[in-house]
């Protein structure tokens, strides 16, 4: 347990901690799975390793072969996790990054040796996806893993995160996680439903469509192919929007249970509390929620120290989810 041949062996098997002190109901236990404990600092380590290993199995990437270039759109954590894995495997990574992510994310990508290609901040993650698709089309020699559509993304959660949750929390009744690529929800959700069909799967999302002002029409909308491929609308039981202010409030409240978490994890905790509030008083429930990453990458937002209304305005201008 204590000695490992590679940092990649440290991915997964993250701890679960009881945060029920924040539960609004005594009959509802809330447990948080701490994905910030992964070596590159987020839940996306699992996805990055899964994407790279699948590409190597398929012969798309060959370890040790020189000058292999990957391109990927990411608002941060996937890029950071991929950059770490690529560094170890000797691949070159270009990350298409919306220009309005927190500066820490940018710094971390550079630390791991990734190249950053800026996409317009006003177009949010949509813009990054579009630009990456365009560049991948222009450079067929580059490898485009495309986390939004790659089955290796939910597979990581179906084979690792889901089984870990059920092993550690066999009494789980609800799973609450954030909806980005939908990889976590599709993978864990499908695994849990197969083994405990009564488990409720809740998706939490920020009001992205409100913040992205680069849309020309509704036809510019985007649904991750993974969500469609896994019949996400059927798999999910509820989907709830959490506003920036609630996200910051719950990011702060997580410190009451000793957890210093990223803003998206604050949003997800706010969603877990909403979920708890729907459970009748005479029903015992156990909610498992995900802490995607720790707070370090968000210190520049002043989320823990500044006036909350100022922080909310700042948060609206950056991509934190």
């Amino acid at each position: 347990m204590a000695r490992h041949a590679s940092v990649l062996e440290l991915i997964g098997n993250t701890p679960v901690v009881d945060v029920s002190a924040l539960s609004p109901k005594p009959n509802v236990t809330i447990l948080a799975k701490l994905e910030g404990r992964n070596p590159a600092g987020s839940v996306k380590d699992r996805v990055a390793l899964s994407l790279i290993e699948a590409a190597e199995r398929d012969g798309v990437l060959v370890p040790g072969k020189p000058d292999q270039i990957l391109i990927e759109p990411s608002s941060g954590n996937t890029g950071i996790a991929l950059a770490m894995v690529c560094r170890l495997r000797g691949y070159l990574l270009k990350v298409v990054l919306p220009s309005n992510v927190s500066p820490e994310r940018r710094q971390l990508l550079l630390a791991w040796g990734a190249e950053i290609i800026d996409s317009p901040g006003s177009e949010g993650s949509n813009g990054a996806v579009r630009l990456a698709q365009q560049l991948a089309g222009e450079h067929p020699e580059w490898t485009f893993l495309y986390q939004y559509a790659n089955p290796a993304n939910p597979w990581a959660h179906y084979t690792m995160t889901g089984p870990e949750i059920l092993a550690d929390v066999p009494e789980v009744t609800h799973f609450v996680a954030g909806l980005g690529t939908s990889g976590t929800l599709m993978g864990v959700g499908r695994y849990l439903k197969e083994h405990k069909p009564d488990v409720q799967i809740w998706a939490i999302e920020p009001p992205s469509g409100e913040m992205v002002d680069g849309l020309r029409s509704l036809e510019d909308g985007y649904i991750p192919p993974i969500f469609i491929d896994n019949d996400g609308t059927k798999l999910l039981d509820r989907k709830v929007v959490v506003r920036p202010k609630e996200s910051i409030e719950w990011t702060r409240r997580m410190t009451e249970v000793g957890l210093f978490v990223g803003l998206s994890s604050g949003a997800i905790m706010a969603g877990a509390v909403k979920c708890a509030n729907t459970i009748p008083d005479d029903q015992v429930a156990t909610i498992v929620t995900i802490v995607c990453d720790d707070g370090w990458k968000y210190l520049s937002t002043g989320a823990w120290s500044d006036d909350i209304d100022e922080v909310v305005e700042r948060a609206k201008k950056i991509i934190y989810f």
Partner: protein
């Protein structure tokens, strides 16, 4: 029942520039139909011909996605806040 509908930036030009529109209706379907009667230009952007929700439109009643509450049949009561948002790539950390 009168609910308040929050209009996203992308739909405002076709909806009189309004950010918030009060609409009567007892279900989401009724509320959206009412909106398309007042603003015919957005008809195809809110509802499909068969009356289901446009695939790139997310509709929330008090921040709860109506696709999981019965879709266009989801109930609406007085003072509900209905938010229309385009489906976009979330953060996708």
């Amino acid at each position: 029942m009168t609910a308040v509908v929050r209009i996203p930036t992308v739909l405002r030009p076709a909806m009189g520039g309004n950010t918030v529109i009060p609409v009567r209706g007892t279900t989401i379907g009724e509320v959206l139909s009412e909106l398309t009667m007042s603003y015919p230009a957005v008809k195809g952007q809110l509802l499909n011909d068969d009356g289901t929700l446009h695939r790139f439109l997310n509709v929330y009643v008090n921040d709860d996605d109506v696709r999981y509450l019965g879709g266009v049949g989801a109930p609406v009561v007085d003072d509900d806040e209905i938010t229309l948002l385009p489906a976009v790539a979330g953060g996708a950390r």
